[in-house]
């Protein structure tokens, strides 16, 4: 991360922009043509603004790199501060056991899924690794297919490392030694009522275990506490959901009553725990054809996450305001 760029206050940036424009104007008034005037003024730009200009001009000229999945690291870095604010200020995330994520090589993170309107858990797990891990790395995450038939959201997801939830995508990423996040509960997890919070739903068909076995990746269960309270789902606007083709449209205490304000997530207190990796390499890739083993491992992961969820819920105490 470009830590220095973030350290600059927006005020200082605005001042230097104004300064630049003033110098261009004096240049033009002094009889220079606009291009030369801008060039002269730019020579005197402060370092950090010069860097920004350089970055932007590189972007518009297409001189940047996207990997074969469409992940754009510079774009991800640009939106990083927004999520950093959510992580540090809004949700005060406590992350434990980040070192269980390997610094190199493949790993499959399996987590509970919640947050009806916008599930932020993937982004917060990603930030926990980026901020707390001694060797930060970008994790990729599998997203509900529906997000990829929506304009804007599909393009955004792809650029920050999201992919349509497909076994083929997960397997190929793991073969490339990436860290991949999956949410086996899927829509059942995000769409459950507030009264059922922190109760894990069925874990799909155990497809994630199959992928882990085939690629020889360790499974790291992740328990996320706090994501259930950001948009408490009290009801489901089923006719609206059917009309737009969405899996569900939640009704929360603030959405849709407050309009766009209802999109602001509630500031619950979050805890993320990365559990001990489950090493499956002893089974060999052919074990992926054994449905018994798939269900066993799937159940083991599910129980681990459920147990850690309860533990962390107790340790968190209040959901919103921490008693002193």
């Amino acid at each position: 991360m470009s830590a220095s760029a973030q350290a600059d206050s927006p005020q200082a940036t605005a001042e230097s922009v104004a300064d630049f424009l003033r110098r261009v104007r004096t240049g033009i008034e002094g009889g220079l043509d606009p291009v030369t005037a801008a060039n002269r003024a730019a020579d005197e730009l402060p370092q950090r603004l010069a860097r920004l200009v350089q970055l932007l001009s590189r972007r518009v000229r297409g001189e940047y790199h996207e990997d074969e999945w469409g992940f754009d690291e510079e774009f991800a870095e640009a939106v990083y501060p927004v999520f950093e604010f959510l992580y540090e200020v809004w949700w005060r995330v406590d992350a434990a056991g980040v070192r269980n994520v390997p610094a190199h090589g493949r790993a499959l993170l399996v987590s509970n899924h919640a947050g009806s309107l916008f599930p932020f858990d993937a982004s917060m797990i990603l930030l926990a690794i980026m901020k707390q891990h001694p060797l930060p790395r970008w994790a990729r995450f599998l997203v509900l297919d529906w997000a990829f038939v929506l304009p804007f959201i599909s393009a955004f997801m792809r650029r920050v490392g999201g992919l349509p939830a497909s076994k083929h995508n997960a397997a190929r990423l793991l073969e490339q030694d990436e860290v991949v996040m999956v949410f086996p509960e899927g829509v059942k997890g995000t769409g459950k009522q507030f009264s059922e919070r922190y109760r894990l739903q069925r874990f799909g068909r155990g497809g994630f275990v199959e992928v882990a076995l085939r690629t020889g990746s360790p499974i790291i269960p992740v328990a996320v506490v706090g994501s259930e309270e950001i948009y408490p789902k009290l009801g489901n606007a089923r006719p609206v959901a059917r009309a737009v083709g969405a899996p569900f449209v939640p009704i929360t205490p603030t959405f849709p009553w407050l309009g766009p304000l209802g999109l602001v997530p509630l500031p619950s207190k979050w805890r993320i725990e990365f559990c001990e990796p489950i090493d499956l390499s002893s089974h060999g890739p052919d074990a992926a054809d054994d449905p018994r083993l798939l269900f066993d491992v799937s159940e083991q992961v599910r129980e681990t996450i459920q147990a850690r969820l309860y533990e962390n819920l107790v340790e968190r105490r209040a959901a919103f305001f921490q008693p002193l």
Binding site: V35, A38, N39, A42, D43, L45, A50, R51, V53, Q54, L56, S57, R59, V60, R61, G62, Y64, H65, E66, D67, E68, W69, G70, D145, W146, A147, F148, V149, L150, P151, F152, S154, A155, R158, L163, P164, A165, S166, H168, N169, R172
Partner: protein, 339 residues
Amino acid sequence: MMGRRVVIIGVASHWGRALARRLERDPEIDYLAGIDTGKAPADLGRTDFIEADIRSPLLSRLLPRTEADTIVHCGILWYPEPGKPARVLHDVNVIGTLQLLAACERTRTLERLVVRGSAAIYGCEGATPYFFTERMARTLPLRTRFQRDISELEAYVENFARRHPEIGCCTLRYQPEVGPDLGTPLVRYLQLPVVPTQLGWDPRLQLVHADDATAALEAATRSQARGAVNVAPSGSISLSHILRVLRRPTLPIPHPLFGPALERLGRRLGAGPIYGDGVRLLRFGRGVDNRRLLDEVGYRPRFNAEAAIRDFAAKSHGLRIAPSIHPGDVVGRFAGAAR
């Protein structure tokens, strides 16, 4: 293999001609013939041009007489061409392939059949595997006419291959090609002075460099690979990135209006409408896995997805008349400023 006899179907098409030019230089090939309708391409040397329509049963009498051991089918049409309107596409693609297979059946000397197909068989959907492997064909609904045609003719070729295990049949599934002088609807679209895009969408694309497209076809003709093989560059590149590299200003249009708008605007600016699954391709994009091309055909594309576009940009810059107004170029003039 010495003394090979090769017949190219659809030799008047761009790819048939390009392949014939390459094969003409090969001394191992004793006899080279091309079959197509219309006039013989002027730039071919020793290729024996046979005028015949792929749709006619006459092919069954012509083809055995050539005593060909290798037949390359380049006659599949992606989009209407002058003299080949939209309504004959199905006839040429499906009925033509059927006639060709019937003719192949009579050609006793045949050892190898290469069909130049299309990756359109995979379709374009929002949520798909990002890299289709050859086994994933027909897992998604076939939405356009061209997709159904391609799927149908591939099924015929597969059937033929099953009945004739002694003939090595290979279908190449091409991603769209890119090159400054290709003149395909997609290339003309990318060369528009202002490129309409679909608002909020940014598809991932893999465009095959024209040199790689021809070289892969040649490699497949020589190799022993059987079954379907994807032809695509490694990696992928998004449309927005492509247009920045090409310095083309974009005009985002809400996606329901994109097709009609492109048809209107395209005609006025000199690029026709986008055919077949082009509109869906420019919304959802498509990526395919090219490992079989590398490992089994043994051809490694010279250009990856980004390099193919950069080369295309470098070669089409000379075609510009007016100075560029793209912010990328404007910024380029200020490039000294940042240093």
